[in-house]
């Protein structure tokens, strides 16, 4: 420490190349790698029309990384004092762990509360608009619609600037003048595009239909048919089982020196119990000489067991399969409501009442047949179902309203990507600057004199770096008239005159879009090569069947 205080300067002074600086440089570098990888993945999520689970998953990673980022800010303070006091490394590690856990938890919860607060405080009108804007966002991702005065090609939407724009689009568009009227006219088109995007398009749908059809045929041939045959074999054995059970019962009576006809009525209850012990559930009024009643009970037992076995087996093989009776031929099986329902559900066609055919026209005509007879009807049904909910009166989106869940979920979907993106960018820049300072200190032996000053300067520098991108036009998206309109409306924050908060938000939104253009390739490279392609819980290819419209 005595070296460090020599030649003190207000801002910079000589600083030791202490071991903790090396450690911080390494840890910050590692953190930056993860944060950069996360940032690139976040853009992939936003640009890939995520479902609620994907949004929740990436949000969790984002909050955790933000917590770690804030915790890392305090590490030098702990490490410096540990070095000065000669604290044992294990104790220091424990302290760092506890500190990180504590601060990380606080930040994690704070960020969660921030999003929850946005959702909780949102009005019914805002939720209604958010619901429809997220639908429009999805339609844009699916290339089902384009924005007038801001036409984006599919290629552009797959670029970093396009993805970033998509991430912030619902937030930008929220302040559009008479947005609800504009959206209302286009809603069927938007929802159709959204439904198409959910199903992946007619070609994807056709391939999924073929796969599902193959699976259903396999279930019929290798599941239903053998189970049905086993059931029938079991029924065929009823006569044998009746004979066997009756013989067993008779021999028991003969050992007692009687037969069913001569058994005194006083002994009938005992005889009934013995028969029931044999597994033949005769009734309380059964007469021991009643062979027909005995046979009925045996048949009932065998039939009951066979039916239970058959239905349980079918229930395991097919959702709702317990309702399918045995003995159906192929045509009857595939047209059975339970089969159709399970098949439709597997394909995400639950809302459509289409009958899925197992027999198809020749291969050359099959895709067209599928589109005409199935796909178009499914999309139409989905749009109808979506319209019913997305076009509900805005009051229905208030707490306690029929569309409360949808409204809250979509408000969350609107808020999470920009918030996560903002924290990610700021966190990355702050630690990038911190890393630079550590490296500078290691190279030149100079660093900030006071930690507090450093704590103020580093965020300012980070915002400064970000601000420089505001005027570096790395994309033409921000030059489009519609984007400028969004900026003007956004700066108003719902008022009549621009407000500084709105201006600041719009300023940094533009900066982020510009910054992602050069940053994304670097970040994506970090994710792919340094992190081994870690997916942060988002696996767009893992969804085999298209989702139904969200409930």
């Amino acid at each position: 420490m005595s070296v460090a205080v020599q030649g003190r300067h207000l801002l910079f002074s000589r600083q030791p190349r202490a071991p903790w600086v090396w450690l911080m440089a390494v840890v910050t570098g590692l953190y930056l790698t993860v944060e950069c990888g996360f940032n690139s993945r976040l853009l992939d999520v936003v640009g890939g029309m995520p479902d609620q689970a994907a949004v929740d998953g990436i949000e969790m990673y984002g909050r955790s990384l933000s917590g770690l980022a804030v915790a890392l800010v305090f590490w030098p303070w702990v490490l410096k004092r540990a070095a000065a006091s000669g604290r044992h490394p294990v104790a220091t590690a424990l302290l760092l762990g506890m500190l990180s856990l504590g601060i990380g938890s606080v930040v994690y919860v704070a960020e969660l509360r921030l999003v929850d607060g946005v959702v909780d405080r949102s009005s019914a009108e805002q939720r209604y608009l958010a619901t429809n804007l997220v639908a429009l966002q999805n339609a844009l991702v699916g290339h089902g619609v384009t924005l007038d005065e801001l036409p984006l090609t599919p290629e552009q939407l797959n670029q970093p600037d396009g993805k970033t724009f998509l991430a912030v689009f619902p937030l930008l568009a929220l302040s559009t003048h008479e947005l609800d009227k504009t959206l209302h006219a286009q809603k069927p088109l938007i929802l159709r595009a959204m439904a198409e995007q959910l199903h992946g398009g007619a070609s994807v749908g056709y391939n999924q239909f073929l796969n599902a059809r193959e699976q259903m045929i396999d279930r019929y041939n290798n599941g239903y048919v053998p189970a049905s045959a086993a059931y029938q074999r079991s029924l065929d054995g009823i006569a044998g089982q009746q004979r066997s059970a009756w013989d067993k019962y008779i021999s028991g009576l003969r050992r007692s020196g009687t037969d069913p006809d001569r058994l005194p009525p006083a002994y009938w209850p005992k005889a009934r119990k013995q028969v029931q012990k044999l597994g033949v559930q005769v009734g309380g009024d059964w007469v021991p000489s009643d062979r027909a009643g005995f046979d009925r009970a045996v048949a009932q037992r065998v039939r009951g067991a066979s039916e239970a076995g058959f239905h349980n087996g079918m229930a395991k093989r097919l959702e709702g399969g317990a309702a399918i009776p045995p003995g159906l031929d192929q045509r009857a099986f595939f047209s059975h409501p339970a089969v159709q329902q399970a098949w439709r559900k597997g394909l995400g066609y639950a809302h459509a009442g289409v009958t899925l055919p197992v027999e198809l026209p020749p291969p050359a005509q099959a895709p067209q047949f599928f589109k005409r007879a199935i796909y178009d009807k499914v999309i139409a049904a989905d749009v109808e179902e979506l319209l019913r909910r997305y076009d509900a009166p805005s009051a229905a989106f208030a707490d306690g309203g029929s569309q409360q869940e949808l409204g809250r979920g979509q408000m969350r979907a609107l808020a999470v990507p920009p918030i996560a993106l903002g924290f990610s960018i700021v966190g990355a820049l702050v630690h990038l600057i911190k890393l630079s300072l550590f490296l500078l200190q290691l190279a030149s032996g100079r660093g900030f004199t006071y930690g507090l000053v450093k704590g103020l300067c580093v965020p300012l520098l980070a915002f400064g770096v970000l601000a420089t991108f505001h005027d570096i036009a790395t994309t033409d998206i921000t030059a489009k008239p519609l984007y400028r309109y969004f900026e003007q409306r956004g700066a108003l924050l719902g008022g009549d005159a621009p407000r500084w908060q709105g201006r600041a938000a719009m300023f940094f939104t533009r900066s982020v879009i510009h910054a992602e253009v050069p940053a994304y390739p670097v970040f994506e490279a970090a994710r792919r090569y340094a992190l081994g392609g870690y997916a942060f819980g988002y696996h767009p290819g893992a969804r085999t069947a298209p989702a139904s419209p969200p409930d």
Partner: protein, 262 residues
């Protein structure tokens, strides 16, 4: 047939009841008219008749020997023969008799059911005997009693039989609690005959309702020395009471059940 003044307390309904009570001077006349005496043969046969189950003719005949007509009493001695061939032949000889009994039961107009009777001391003021009647088997802790006798089969050294129950009478019923006879000489004569077992009381009963199979062991009587188990009960309505001379079959007295209206 003399009119028996029984249960003077309840004669209000007698005119209607009298219409259902068969008119006869002799017990055998009633039998000829389709009234079956529920003796040691006929009573147990109620079970095989109503259930369609087989019965053990040897057991039935051995236990109902006293109810056999005199011409068959001799043949019944051969029922204990150890030679199964001779036994078979003996039983074959009884087959027409038993078939006839079954047929008579199947088409019975009513039953003639013997009663246990206790005649009290004659009341010279009211000119009547106190009378306590009961059926052969009393149900424990109950005023009900049953006519149960003979055996249609045996199982584990227990006789199996059937019973007739009275649906409209038990010993607490006010009917038939007194036997009113004005003529002192006749009253004395009847008492003497009863004490010497030369006469006995019978209910004239009419089947009422379905034969009820008793599928529990609660209807057991006879104690551990000679246990009997009831397999079924035929409910029957008491139409009236007869006092019958055992030697001649003459009906000495007759009275209708007060509430025996159809």
């Amino acid at each position: 047939m003399k009119t028996l003044h029984i249960a003077a307390l309840l004669l209000a309904g007698a005119p209607a009841a009298a219409a259902t009570m068969p008119q006869a001077d002799n017990f055998h006349e009633l039998e000829s008219a389709g009234y079956v005496a529920m003796d040691h043969i006929n009573t147990p046969l109620l079970y095989p008749l109503n259930s369609g189950k087989p019965y053990n003719a040897k057991v039935l005949l051995l236990n109902g020997r006293q109810s056999l007509p005199p011409e068959l009493q001799q043949a019944a001695r051969d029922l204990n023969d150890n030679n199964e061939f001779r036994l078979h032949a003996t039983l074959q000889g009884f087959a027409p008799f038993l078939a006839g009994r079954m047929d008579a039961l199947r088409h019975a107009q009513g039953y003639l059911v013997a009663l246990n009777a206790k005649l009290g001391e004659y009341d010279f003021t009211r000119h009547r005997f106190p009378l306590a009647l009961s059926l052969q088997v009393s149900k424990p802790k109950s005023a009900d009693s049953y006519q149960c006798s003979g055996a249609y089969d045996e199982f584990r050294r227990t006789k199996l039989t059937a019973c007739v129950s009275a649906s409209n009478w038990n010993h607490q019923n006010p009917a038939f609690q007194y036997l009113a006879i004005d003529d002192l000489q006749r009253a004395e004569d009847i008492k003497r005959r009863l004490l010497n077992n030369k006469a006995g009381f019978f209910f004239v009963m009419q089947p009422e309702g379905r034969f009820r199979v008793v599928d529990n062991d609660k209807m057991k009587f006879g104690g551990f020395l000679d246990p009997s188990l009831v397999s079924g009960i035929q409910p029957a309505r008491v139409l009236g009471l007869l006092l019958v001379d055992f030697d001649s079959g003459e009906i000495l007295l007759s009275g209708a059940m007060a509430d025996a209206a159809p």
